[in-house]
Amino acid sequence: MISEKVKQSFIRIVGSENYDDSKAGRLVYSYDATPQFQSLPDAVIAPRNTKEVSEIVKICNEHRIPLVPRGSGTNLCAGTCPIEGGVVLVFKHMNKILEIDEENLTVTVQPGVITQDLIKAVEEKGLFYPPDPSSMKISTIGGNINENSGGLRGLKYGVTRDYVMALEVVLANGDIIRTGGKLAKDVAGYDLTRLFVGSEGTLGVITEATLKLIPMPETKKTMLALYQDLEAAARSVSKIIANKIIPTTLEFLDQPTLAVVEDYARIGLPTNVKAVLLIEQDGPYEVVERDMKKMAEICQEEQAVSVQIARSEAEADALRTARRSALSALARLKPTTILEDATVPRSEIAKMVKAINEIAEKYNVKICTFGHAGDGNLHPTCPTDVRDREEIERVEKAFEEIFAKAIELGGTITGEHGVGAMKAPYLEWKLGKEGIEAMKAIKQALDPNGIMNPGKIFAKSERKRVVVTR
């Protein structure tokens, strides 16, 4: 609860137009894109600059008010659901691109900048910001940094973490710190930049970021390969990499996904094939040509039943349709769509996909798998209905087993969505008790009062909890 006195001090900082505690105003910030999580904040505050953020944080710290920084609320781990109430911070005013530095190849932004706007702005200068989460048309850079978002181009270019060079962060006590710099080399002390990337708002509020840019690749080509055998597709992936080729995209759809996609988009893909690979390469023209030729050969050697290389952008777009439609096709099947991101070393992909299909059968639930084969990041997706409690129980058990299997294969419970509240009960499986303790020690040191996005990353109980309504 926020007392009238505290409310007035917030209003003195941001103005009454940027403080909302109306019922409707709070309700629309009670959720993010994660199914089964909803909880009302006590107020929604839109600060206009770092100083205001710092003042707000100080008040929250003094009065032990939870604080949840939120971008566009597109995350899939309940990372921005205010499960303990408190203040939701929105960055609609702090959404400027501050500088594109063409000499140092960096861009400096405020956290509320939309990812795609940033990508477009730097592309106009012939520069490239590779991280491309599926939600990039609306996700914010602040959100991407806090969740360490991945994307389709992760295999070749890495994820958000690999592009964050410097941060401005407001700590839980209101201190404003700057980490890193426009520096390729910098070993002055702990690498706090990396610590804050992916910290899910639990350590501080990111108020500015300097990101690394690279030159725009000259060309790009697209190819689609179909397989009658899952292992053959997986072998193609391993062999491509073993041949020292790192494609920019190496996406995968399994048979259940393909059947659903074909039913929805009517692309004309044979639904009896067991796996589809969408492969793209970018770079200098000659290199792209050579790599595409080699990869096509590898796919054919591995018994692909069809290999198509697009000759134009329109054809490339057609080949991408299947992968692009996957989410839409799956989301339409049932009211609730649970999209997970279990990740394994890429050598284990075939084993993982097989295990997922067996687990789905065991619990009698529908799970379709697609994802980023190149980096082992899979998206087992379950169309279900939260109103069917009995089925949801089975779905949760199936996913528990999927997480366990991923860890058994040397993988992780989450590749790019984050832990949040959703996966907190499983984190210990990945990190062990000692790992969790080490992380808790960091949390305790930076946020002793536990006001920064409480209830995220660290579970209160081991068993999963479901809908929260405050």
Partner: protein
């Protein structure tokens, strides 16, 4: 303001009437946000986004919140442009949810006497009665022709109105006379070989205020090889009622139209207004729970087709079309694009015109802010959206802005007037432009 008792009734009706499956289908991914004009123009307020509005509707159903003023405000602020629908991965039919919610609120809320009278006049007194629409238009004609208009303008009487209405007065087309409006064709023969037999849905405003555009439409259909039937028993499509929380009246109008068209044995029922077409094409949804009408509505909706698609199908774009050299751009009608799914045909036609250099406008698919009567009831947001639109229009350097719906057409004219560009920029309906290109 609603009373506590009204709110309780509204809440209870939300629980019984709102389609829970449709509400559940929203997975809150947020992919709709960047397409929502009010989300953008409100400075990224979630309560003015489709995801936020669905969450509010669901919260009212779930009993998490009351349908208070803020909820109503959020729903009122929606343009109903439905740009959120094509991008929705789950295919949520947001427009249907909005319509139902607005109907529940409108039917259970006691409006002020003034608003009640206005709603009564517009929804019951005027639009369902074509003769009264003609009379009103004739009065406008009298105002324009008798010298009253120039008097009113000279003495600054119009300055008593809010600014956007003053400008609106300026951009009204010169309307037809009483006699012209009462002398409408019922059947027209094709020019050359008969390729199709079509019925023409004339619409209420289109057949009065914009009668010239209707004439142009019929002329084009004839030139393209269509026999055209115009059943006199047809009525207003009911879109205004449906969007404004008067669903019951919309259904009555739908039935009248189905009856008027179903026996005609035509290939298509042609429309030239995206707003009407989109409402007609969803009659099946409107009447889905009415056993006597559901099937007849389905048969009706299957025949609805926009004029631009008919023309492309009949290869009209391959005939000689020529205008004097000019840069042309196209503003999508939201309902034509997002509901009728027609986006290519108008562009294809425009690109076929010799002399017209077609330049795509940035965000041409974003609403212009007209949105039925939105520009009258929510002028501030509407004008903010229009100002953005005009910036984009100016960037194209176009001298002709083409649209495909009367509301959009008036709004673009309003935009041109507001920007002081009327000396070198015009807005036209696509059929008028095509007729100009085809030789009048």
């Amino acid at each position: 303001m609603t009373t506590a008792k009204e709110r309780a009734t509204i809440q209870q009706q939300f629980q019984t009437r709102m389609n829970e499956d449709e509400l559940m289908n929203c997975m809150r991914c947020g992919f709709c946000l960047p397409t929502c004009p009010t989300y953008i123009e409100s400075g990224f307020q979630e309560s003015h986004s489709p995801r936020g509005r669905i969450a509010l509707m669901k919260a009212v159903v779930d009993g998490l919140i009351e349908p208070d003023e803020d909820v109503e405000r959020s729903l009122n602020m929606c343009l109903g442009c439905r740009a959120c629908e094509p991008v929705c991965p789950s295919g949520v039919r947001y427009g249907h949810l909005l319509e139902e919610a607005r109907d529940i609120i409108a039917q259970n809320k006691k409006y002020s006497l003034f608003v009640r009278i206005i709603r009564k006049i517009v929804f019951s007194g005027l639009f369902p009665h074509q003769n009264r629409m003609r009379l009103l238009t004739a009065l406008v004609g009298f105002y324009q022709r008798s010298g009253l208009q120039s008097l009113a303008r000279r003495f600054g009487l119009l300055n008593l109105l809010p600014r956007h209405l003053t400008t609106m007065e300026k951009v009204l087309p010169t309307v037809p006379t009483w006699k012209e409006m009462n002398d409408r064709p019922k059947q027209l023969t094709p020019q050359g070989i008969k390729k199709r037999r079509v019925a023409f849905f004339t619409g209420c405003l289109m057949d009065t205020m914009f009668m010239k555009t209707n004439d142009a439409t019929m002329e084009l259909l004839q030139r393209a090889g269509c026999e055209v039937v115009i059943p006199p028993a047809q009525a207003c499509c009911g879109a205004l009622h449906g969007h404004g929380g008067e669903k019951h009246q919309a259904k009555e109008l739908a039935k009248r139209n189905i009856e008027a068209f179903e026996q005609l044995n035509v290939d298509y029922i042609v429309t030239n207004a995206g707003g009407c077409g989109a409402f007609l094409v969803e009659y099946d949804h409107l009447l889905k729970d009415d056993a006597d009408w559901a099937e007849r509505a389905k048969a009706f909706t299957r025949k609805i087709k926009d004029i631009s698609e008919v023309l492309v199908e009949l290869n009209f774009h391959e005939t000689k079309l020529k205008v004097k050299p000019q840069v042309v751009t196209y503003q999508d009608s939201c309902h034509l694009r997002n509901v009728m799914k027609v986006a290519n045909a108008p562009r294809q036609l425009l690109q076929a015109i010799e002399g017209a250099e077609f330049r795509e406008m940035k965000d041409a698919d974003r609403c212009c802010g007209s949105a039925g009567i939105y520009n009258i009831v929510e002028p501030e947001m509407s004008m903010q959206i229009l100002d953005y639109k005009m910036q984009m229009a100016k960037q194209t350097k176009a001298t002709t802005i083409v649209t495909a719906n009367p509301g959009c057409l008036l709004q673009m004219k309003l935009g041109i007037e507001r920007e002081g560009l009327s000396s070198h920029m015009r807005a036209v309906h696509i059929v008028d432009f095509l007729l100009e290109a085809s030789g009048e």
